[in-house]
């Protein structure tokens, strides 16, 4: 009698434990194949996080390229130790990282294919903040034997440059970058190892993040760039160009309207005006990809940015956009190769 009672309960407990475990394993495999690779970042006290070297980067919600990062945690091939071409470190945010397209199709690789005199090296990083540009440059310059810098900026870099977190005024009243030191949180300490080993945990954590994130800003009139932001842009370009030869590629945000009309987003116009003016002050060559994006759309009928199921014309560059950006870079570095 006792056995009769015990057996079903035992099996029930086993069932309740084993079945979910099997489903979790199936879900993990499914996630790795179709959705994302496990998180591939580690904590960094200056940059908050950095990519782990030699890991896989795969996100299917845009594009779906499966990329292998190099030993520096960059979306680029391993560099030979002996330098054959002029090396340009390309610094920018996720537009530069280009996790959405195959490596051979991003604008860094396409430019390398077209210009045999320079070797662009992809130093792109998700959610890059402008204040991180000098830090990344300083870290990579020596090991990668960098000769010059290419900054890839968009309107978000100009509008987002103002932050109490990263700037302060010195005694002379000038704006300065603050040195930031991040502390590793307990949650992060707990989650990081799990997320590095489980794609499923990565997805669920990202979803939890989405739930706790504030509602997106409702669409309103375009923001304005104030004098302080302009001053910060100047400070950034001064810092970057004081030690290196710097060039800038500006990626515009376009809006695609009826009858194949393409309109430049108002904030993009403002950001471009400020950037081109400040860059002129420091004699930094700068090019906007606007006409290249428009020409590409005219020719192919496909917008430069956006992936199906995302906002058309916004978010990251697709293959058309990368090809157009590469065309802009070919112009920017054309004189270098003549």
């Amino acid at each position: 009698m006792a056995n009769d009672l015990k057996t079903p309960i035992f099996f029930l407990v086993v069932k309740i434990l084993v079945i979910p475990l099997i489903i979790l394993l199936i879900a993990e495999a499914f996630t790795r194949i179709f959705i994302t690779s496990p998180a591939n970042t580690k904590f960094d006290s200056e940059l908050l996080w950095v990519y782990l070297p030699n890991t896989t980067l795969f996100r299917s919600h845009e594009g779906g390229a499966r990329l292998k990062l190099n030993s520096f945690g960059m979306n680029d091939d391993e560099l030979p130790s002996t330098k054959q071409r002029h090396r340009v470190l390309v610094l920018g945010d996720s537009f530069t990282l280009a996790a959405q397209v195959e490596r051979s199709r991003n604008f860094v690789s396409l430019t390398n294919d077209q210009l045999k005199c320079v070797r662009l090296i992809n130093g792109g990083r998700d959610a890059l903040q402008p204040f991180q540009l000098p830090i990344i440059r300083n870290r990579l310059k020596e090991p990668l034997q960098i000769d010059s810098i290419l900054l890839v900026l968009n309107k978000n870099d100009i509008f987002g440059i103002k932050s109490k977190l990263i700037t302060a005024r010195n005694n002379a009243g000038q704006l300065e970058w603050k040195n930031i030191t991040y502390q590793k949180s307990t949650v992060r300490e707990l989650l990081d190892p799990v997320m590095r080993h489980s794609a499923l945990a990565t997805v669920l954590t990202r979803r939890l993040n989405e739930v706790t994130m504030p509602e997106p800003r409702p669409k309103s009139a375009p923001r304005q760039i104030d004098a302080e932001q302009k001053e910060l842009v100047a400070e950034l370009l001064r810092t970057m160009s004081s030690a290196d030869d710097v060039r800038i590629l500006f990626l515009p945000f376009l809006s695609y309207e009826e009858d194949r009309r393409v309109v430049v987003v108002e904030e993009t116009k403002m950001a471009w005006n400020v950037l081109s003016e400040v860059a002129g002050r420091f004699n930094i060559p700068v090019v906007s990809a606007e006409i290249y994006f428009k020409e590409s759309y005219e020719r192919t009928g496909q917008p430069a940015a956006g992936f199906p199921n995302q906002v058309l014309g916004a978010l990251h560059l697709n293959e058309s956009g990368h090809a157009a950006a590469a065309a802009a870079l070919t112009t920017l570095y054309g004189d270098h190769c003549n």
Binding site: I19, I23, A27, E258, G301, Q302, P308, N309, L312
Partner: protein, 469 residues
């Protein structure tokens, strides 16, 4: 308060608890009534009096119809009830539409009235009307209690988007004991979960893509427009039938049965069959109270076809005050008429069983599917002009942005499999719901569903499509 929100979960749990601890049947009914009014008030508190008043008038006129000794008196109260019901509906839903069109015809300008459409007004108006018409026809007994009647109209699972419940189906259920039984809880819970999956995993994930394409169809390639049309067809089905399943499930938990509203409409072999499978509670309502009242098929072939057309035209207008819905309804009316003629023609001139062959069935299915899906374009488009542009670009396979996403194709594939499975063997589905929640199969299903919802349900669930009607 939508079914897929945390608010609803709290509301429902509290209600369950309250009904569980109360012993008196009368108090239980009043609790359900009170909860239904809170549920409705969560959208807009100011419309609760409208709901109560409209139900009270419906009940009162019903009593008058019964109390009237003369046929003329009965007819008077019926006409009054129809006039009041349609008058209120007309004011809230159609005042601006008709006003603007009449003003345009007269070359005048219409100042848009700032009218907020009460959620579910089309549904509860139809329930009120069916009650008084049925009383007039003598097919039901009058409801003896006003509070029971208001509960019939306002019962929260079906209040805002149906199914449209008939008094003859629901009022007798209010005379039975309300007891929370484990069996009902399990079955209701499973039906509710089934509906939630359709809504959050399929409909909500299709809506992002559909919204982009329909907002500016002139931008996209013909192929993309075809895909978006099929995606919307599946979105509206999963959204509406998902809502209905959740309504049926929630009602079942309290021991109430609500009528079936969908029966895999996209496997239909004709438009007539489509309307036997799509929004069944509306199509049978229109048949019983409008089509038959117009004369149905009793006045010759031409009148039958005309009656069908008028019924569908008004059915289209019921969905919303826009020419898009009128066009949608009109074309369905034409489709039904053509099918009726075709059936008569076939019987007279093409005898035999050739129409039962697989190849003919396949042809009929494709034709019906495309007809119904193309007609969703005016139904979904923001303006009549957009519908025209959409259809023109789709059939000319115009060049444009190719926005074809594998996720959408995968979701459509899953939905099609669901339909095919049902078409092949509905017995497979009758295996659900089941009484043993701890069987291996059920543990697997529940855990998988939970994981799928955690992974794929959009963070901000879209409102149900049919709430706007």
């Amino acid at each position: 308060m939508i079914f897929t929100s945390l608010n609803f979960l709290c509301f429902f749990s509290l209600l369950l608890f309250a009904v569980r601890i109360v012993a008196s049947q009368k108090v239980k009914l009043n609790l359900l009534l009170f909860a239904s009014l809170i549920f409705y008030g969560a959208w807009n508190l100011w419309f609760v009096p409208l709901l109560v008043l409209s139900s009270t008038i419906g009940w009162f006129l019903g009593q008058k119809i019964i109390a009237s000794n003369s046929a003329g008196g009965k007819r008077f109260y019926l006409v009054l009830s129809i006039a009041l019901g349609l008058g209120v509906l007309g004011f809230f839903k159609y005042a601006n539409f008709f006003g603007a069109n009449i003003a345009a015809l007269m070359g005048m300008e219409w100042i848009i009235l700032d009218i907020i459409l009460p959620v579910g007004i089309s549904f509860f108006t139809f329930q009120n009307l069916s009650y008084t018409i049925d009383l007039y026809r003598g097919t039901i007994k009058p409801c003896d209690s006003l509070s029971k009647y208001i509960l019939f109209v306002s019962f929260f699972p079906q209040l805002v988007a149906g199914p449209i419940v008939r008094a003859s189906e629901f009022l007798p259920q209010l005379d039975r004991d309300i007891q929370l039984k484990a069996r009902n809880l399990l079955i209701g819970g499973q039906i509710f979960l089934g509906g939630a999956i359709q809504k959050v995993l399929i409909a909500d994930n299709l809506s992002g893509f559909v919204d982009h394409i329909f907002s500016n169809p002139s931008l996209y390639s013909g192929g993309t427009l075809w895909l978006a049309m099929f995606a919307y067809s599946m979105q509206i089905f999963c959204d509406f039938s998902g809502y209905t399943l959740m309504a049926i499930g929630a009602a079942r938990v309290f021991g109430f049965s609500l009528p079936e509203n969908f029966r895999m409409p996209y496997i239909s072999l004709s438009v007539t069959e489509f309307w036997r499978r799509w929004h069944i509670s509306l199509s049978t309502w229109l048949r019983d109270y409008l089509y038959i009242s117009l004369g149905g098929n009793r006045k010759g072939e031409f009148r039958t076809i005309l009656n069908l057309f008028i019924t569908m035209l008004l059915g289209g207008l019921w969905h919303g005050a826009s020419w898009n819905f009128v066009v949608w309804g009109a074309f369905h009316g034409i489709g039904l008429g053509l099918h009726k003629y075709w059936v008569m023609f076939r019987a007279s001139f093409l005898p035999g069983n050739w129409h039962l062959t697989l190849i003919w069935k396949l042809f009929s299915w494709i034709l019906t599917l495309i007809f119904c899906c193309v007609l969703w374009i005016p139904f979904r488009s923001e303006t009549f002009g957009n519908s025209v542009v959409y259809i023109a670009r789709m059939f000319s396979f115009s060049d444009g942005v190719r926005w074809i996403h594998p996720d959408i194709i995968l979701l459509l594939g899953i939905s099609v499999c669901w339909h095919v499975l049902f078409a092949l063997n509905s017995k497979i589905l009758s295996g659900f719901p089941t009484m043993n929640p701890l069987s291996s199969r059920n543990i697997s299903i529940f855990f998988s569903i939970l994981l799928l919802i955690l992974m794929f349900a959009p963070i901000n669930s879209s409102p149900f499509v049919y709430f706007q009607f």
